[in-house]
Symmetry: C2
Amino acid sequence: MKLQNDLILRAARGEKTERTPVWLMRQAGRVLPEYRKVREKMGGFKELVETPEFACEVTLQPVDILGVDAAIIFSDILVLPEAMGLPYQMIEAKGPWFEKTIKTQADIDKLHIAQADDLQYVLDAISLTKEALAGKVPLIGFAGAPWTIFAYMTEGSGSKTFSVAKRFLYTQPKLAHALLGKITQSTIHYLIAQVKAGADMVQLFDSWAGVLSPAQYKEFALPYLAEICREVKKTKEVPITVFAKDAFFARKDLAAIPCDTIGLDWTMDIAESKALIGPGKTLQGNMDPCLLYADEEVIYRETLQMLNAFGPHRHIANLGHGLYPDTEKSKVKFFVDTIKEFKFQSNTVHAQS
Amino acid sequence: MKLQNDLILRAARGEKTERTPVWLMRQAGRVLPEYRKVREKMGGFKELVETPEFACEVTLQPVDILGVDAAIIFSDILVLPEAMGLPYQMIEAKGPWFEKTIKTQADIDKLHIAQADDLQYVLDAISLTKEALAGKVPLIGFAGAPWTIFAYMTEGSGSKTFSVAKRFLYTQPKLAHALLGKITQSTIHYLIAQVKAGADMVQLFDSWAGVLSPAQYKEFALPYLAEICREVKKTKEVPITVFAKDAFFARKDLAAIPCDTIGLDWTMDIAESKALIGPGKTLQGNMDPCLLYADEEVIYRETLQMLNAFGPHRHIANLGHGLYPDTEKSKVKFFVDTIKEFKFQSNTVHAQS
């Protein structure tokens, strides 16, 4: 089915677009009263993720309500370690928790390399959503980056320092590579299956990239990200985004792996990031989610400043992190509308590019 | 009293030193069994901080046990907001918690600008420690940076996002400046009092610098840091260190304020930081605290790499964050000894400088 709006795909491929496309990380979620209503019907977050009809319903909501240029399948990066043999619970107000964690070679040996049908419920949600979208906007699939999945599998929960996961890297580097290899293989299977089920592009979330040193990121994160991009693209040439939150130090290295788009957070200066990354990649981001607490005048001013700093091409507008749940829906809509209505002045375009 | 070891003061002033001096953030703390013994005698962390004899005892411990080149007074950055009228509790395994937080102009009006004698127990601990040190090594005093203190006073606790504190900046910028002004005045009084009581140098901890955007850091953090440095130095020319954790984007701006030393965390590349900051400041840091989980061979190799990257002058060796409580004391000692025993080869020195 031909897409009616393929702005995001064209922007990701480096083609010129009539305007800057926009979507928001966590656009399907608590910010929308419509989501909270579906959520109340379900037992909890995981039940929602695991029920394709409901995952599809909440995935579609922001497309209709906020008018964003893409849907992103409602799911969680932790479905993958679960498919590999480490089940997790999502504890209200606390976050994810794993009853088993990976400590030894034997633990790694016991892990299963995930295959497509291990995550059939996600693939079903993607197929359903793709059909329901009827070509309105592209559908984004996603997975966690291997380091971030490794961090949860060894730490067992969120953490400010991820010192257990990092201890593993420092004390058992060979074992760490073995585990990262298994996660990478599983992720490749998973993302290829998502693309086959209908995902038009995919994103890798490296949420805990920022706790590593630059040298560790080079050793334990980048090669696996590159491998995933290469292998997924062998099956189908879909655009791939890598968002390595807080990894300001990895921008230049990310430019060298075969992804199409690099996500930036709000601490990363736009001009500096463009210079570091070069013209070969599309950039995604990077507004501070807290800006959406401000009044419309401030949101408008800061959004225009962001758009002008990125320039008219190779930019997918987004936040620099997921939407915070206490953001007002009307402010989110105002941010999206501001981006969609903005026209680059041709003089400005020349001055910026 | 003349100091027997003033390496750290000389390094901070940019003078050449025979070897690289070293101390560790959180060197007095749970890593030392000797600390845990004192702690067991007390009711809790706050009682320890508020009892000068005990604060003095644990401040001295790492000087004797680890052989570091400075003592840092055992205290907490949150004693200042408490002195201003916002009492806090330190909740085991959870961190600090404030029962009242700042929301309105009226809340700010009610705050007291802290004076020296509001924190007499810290000053007494400094005097006692200074006397007990008998000139062995310098004593470091400290305070939180205004933005970090503001973040706790408005958020009321630690947070991954500090979205309440940032919402304040975006929605009530004038009020935010009024509060930052009061915190700054209090901090100036407090640090001058610390210096008068015997602190040989002082450090400002901007622990939550990294959640701000570069533009917000310029507006809400840097001017107050600069004001504190200027005002403290009017009373006495003590070296001042600013450690803005995760604020990689502020390195160049920090080089322009009248501090002497800039702290780096382990995500900040050393050569790049030197280039950004220039030769006018001493750098402090920046080993990943998780390195100390590794075996001695790895610690040795990485420590030498760090020392060589910083070069022989204008460097105070430290971690890029506080010691993690589950680090083995023997590894900490090995790290300190490696630094103290290291000799720059004159060829290397030329190649590095």
